[in-house]
């Protein structure tokens, strides 16, 4: 089985686990859910189990153009309706997804979702550095590092291809980035 299938399955497992955490705000869960869907389609495609090539491409675009901006909103405005109310989270995700679909999907401007995704992660990192949240800073660093290795097409070993670094970086990154119940408690009482 190709390494990409295994690392995408790992990413799927991590993202799906977080998407099902009822105690974290809905926007986080939707963002992780969308990443999980892209990873599941990747695992199915790379393993040859049930390849849906076009859907994997689309949901990868949506991951960058919709899921990551939504996660950025979670850090920028943690008390906002978009983060805490299902209706507004879905509207934001839907609008961002339509933009991504139109520009990167139909318009073939793949740089759009890459730039939007990268800017979202950088923005999150900057805010977390300002807030001094070490665990989450480490998470974002993993996400960015994995993405950078993927874009630079770096290959350290014969067993891991560049895409694996993206998958593993994202998997470890989101686990560290996701808010813990303890952190949510502090955030709520800081209001």
């Amino acid at each position: 089985m190709p390494s990409l299938a295994i690392t995408d399955a790992i990413l799927f497992g991590c993202a799906a686990y977080l998407a099902f955490q009822r105690q974290i705000p809905i926007a986080y869960r939707l963002g992780f859910g969308l990443l999980a869907l892209a990873a599941l389609l990747g695992a199915m495609k790379f393993s040859g189990l049930y390849p849906l090539e076009t859907w994997h491409r689309l949901f990868t675009i949506l991951g960058g153009s919709a899921a990551l901006p939504l996660l950025a909103i979670c850090v920028i405005w943690p008390q906002s309706a978009v983060v805490n109310d299902r209706q507004f989270a879905l509207i934001f995700l839907g609008a961002a997804a339509i933009l991504g679909l139109a520009i990167a999907g139909l318009g073939k401007l793949r740089i759009y979702d890459q730039v939007v995704g990268a800017l979202s992660m950088l923005l999150i990192l900057w805010l977390l550095i300002k807030q001094g949240e070490k665990r989450r800073i480490m998470g974002l660093s993993f996400m960015l590092f994995g993405s950078a290795l993927f874009l630079a097409k770096v290959q350290f070993s014969p067993w891991l291809v560049p895409g694996d670094f993206l998958h593993l970086g994202m998997a470890i990154g989101i686990l560290l980035f996701a808010p813990t119940p303890h952190r949510l408690f502090i955030a709520q009482h800081a209001e």
Binding site: L52, T54, W55, R57, L58, S80, A81, Q87, F88, I91, G94, I98, L101, G105, L106
Partner: protein
């Protein structure tokens, strides 16, 4: 477009039949000015669908071509059945969003603006829905359903919804559990507390049952039809834009960006001061909007509506043969004609005390 060429005479015949049956039972379920307005709104919407339909079809084709995952055999009945069920599921969400997101309610409110409930109400369709409706059907394009299947099942879903707009048919036993019926659709059009945001399905009500939005019609409290902020106009153009105008005024009234966004995307009942203004509706205090319109003007309105129906039939036939500029000019003339007659009929309201004042939340400054 062509199926509507045949459907419109059938719709008009069924309206006449419903009127006759109602009269023979001693029921008054039609008011002339309301029905004329419903028909005029429906006629205008058919013109905008000529443009909106193209947008939907193009987007569907593009997405299907680029991301469609499967190929479907149009000779296989399962293709059609699965497409119809999926279409109805997507319709549930379009419809629900149309009620629960203010900017989308601005479009769908047209359909609910009648204070009567009869077959003419079914034709009171929005002219602005095409901006966003296609988005909700993207799952069908991603599954790769052919455009022709999408268009045909869409038409079936739409035509099914015609017959449920009647007060002459009671509860239908087991059908109430699975299908949208006249009884559960009456609930959808009611403004009673128990009717708000209920029964969104197109053909099937199983979606409502699954997602907790189903409500049965209560024998002890019949639905009162219409909207909480009454339209108070017979003008078809105003019916289409009045809620957009209201949102615009609300957005302008505040400097708070959160509130501006909430006015666009929150529930229509949202306000900065009160969490939910939909609660408590006094059914006994409700009075329908009416005007003292001279009989001569009403007769002119009837003739204009009949003329507009004929013009629409001509449009269906000639549309593809006419240059775009002529299409636009023809449509503009058509809209202007119906708007003028609606506006003139509404002018007469000044001679009557405002009967809907007890439930009105906005002034009728448009009249």
């Amino acid at each position: 477009m062509k199926p509507m060429l045949f459907a419109i005479p059938v719709f008009l015949f069924l309206i006449a039949l419903e009127l006759w049956v109602a009269r023979s039972r001693g029921l008054t379920i039609y008011r002339l000015k309301d029905s004329i307005t419903s028909l005029n709104i429906g006629l205008i919407s058919e013109f905008t669908k000529a443009i909106g339909g193209v947008i939907s079809a193009v987007m569907f084709l593009l997405i299907s071509k680029n991301f469609g995952a499967y190929e479907w055999d149009t000779k296989n009945p399962l293709t059609w059945i699965s497409a119809l069920i999926l279409y109805d599921f997507c319709y549930y969400w379009v419809h629900r969003a149309g009620h629960e997101i203010n900017i989308m309610w601005a479009s769908h409110v047209v359909h609910h603006s009648s204070e009567e409930f009869n077959l003419s109400t079914a034709l009171r369709q929005s002219s602005t829905g095409f901006f966003f409706r296609w988005i909700f059907y993207i799952p069908m394009a991603l599954l790769g359903y052919p455009l022709q299947v999408f268009v045909v099942v869409g038409l079936i879903d739409l035509l099914y919804q015609y017959w449920v707009h009647t007060q002459l048919i009671g509860k239908l036993g087991w059908m109430e559990k699975i299908f949208i019926t006249p009884s559960n659709h009456r609930v959808h059009h009611g403004q009673n507390d128990y009717c708000i945001d209920k029964n969104y399905g197109g053909i099937l009500c199983i979606w409502d049952r699954m997602f907790g939005t189903y409500a049965d019609e209560l024998d002890q409290e019949k639905p009162v039809y219409g909207i909480r902020r009454p339209l108070e106009s017979w003008n078809p153009l105003w019916a289409n834009v009045h809620h957009y105008v209201q949102i615009w005024h609300q957005i302008k009234s505040t400097s708070n960006w959160r509130h501006k966004l909430m006015y666009l995307f929150a529930k229509p009942s949202w306000s900065p001061d009160v969490a939910d203004t939909t609660a408590i509706f006094a059914t006994t205090q409700f009075k329908r909007f009416d005007t003292h319109t001279p009989q001569g003007l009403v007769r002119i309105a009837i003739v204009m509506t009949a003329l507009a129906s004929a013009m629409l039939m001509v449009f269906y036939v000639m549309q593809t043969r006419m240059p775009m500029a002529l299409n636009v000019a023809y449509s503009a003339l058509f809209v202007l004609m119906l708007t003028l007659i609606g506006w003139r009929m509404t002018q007469a309201r000044e001679t009557m005390p405002s009967p809907a004042a007890s439930t009105s939340e906005i002034s009728g400054s448009h009249a």
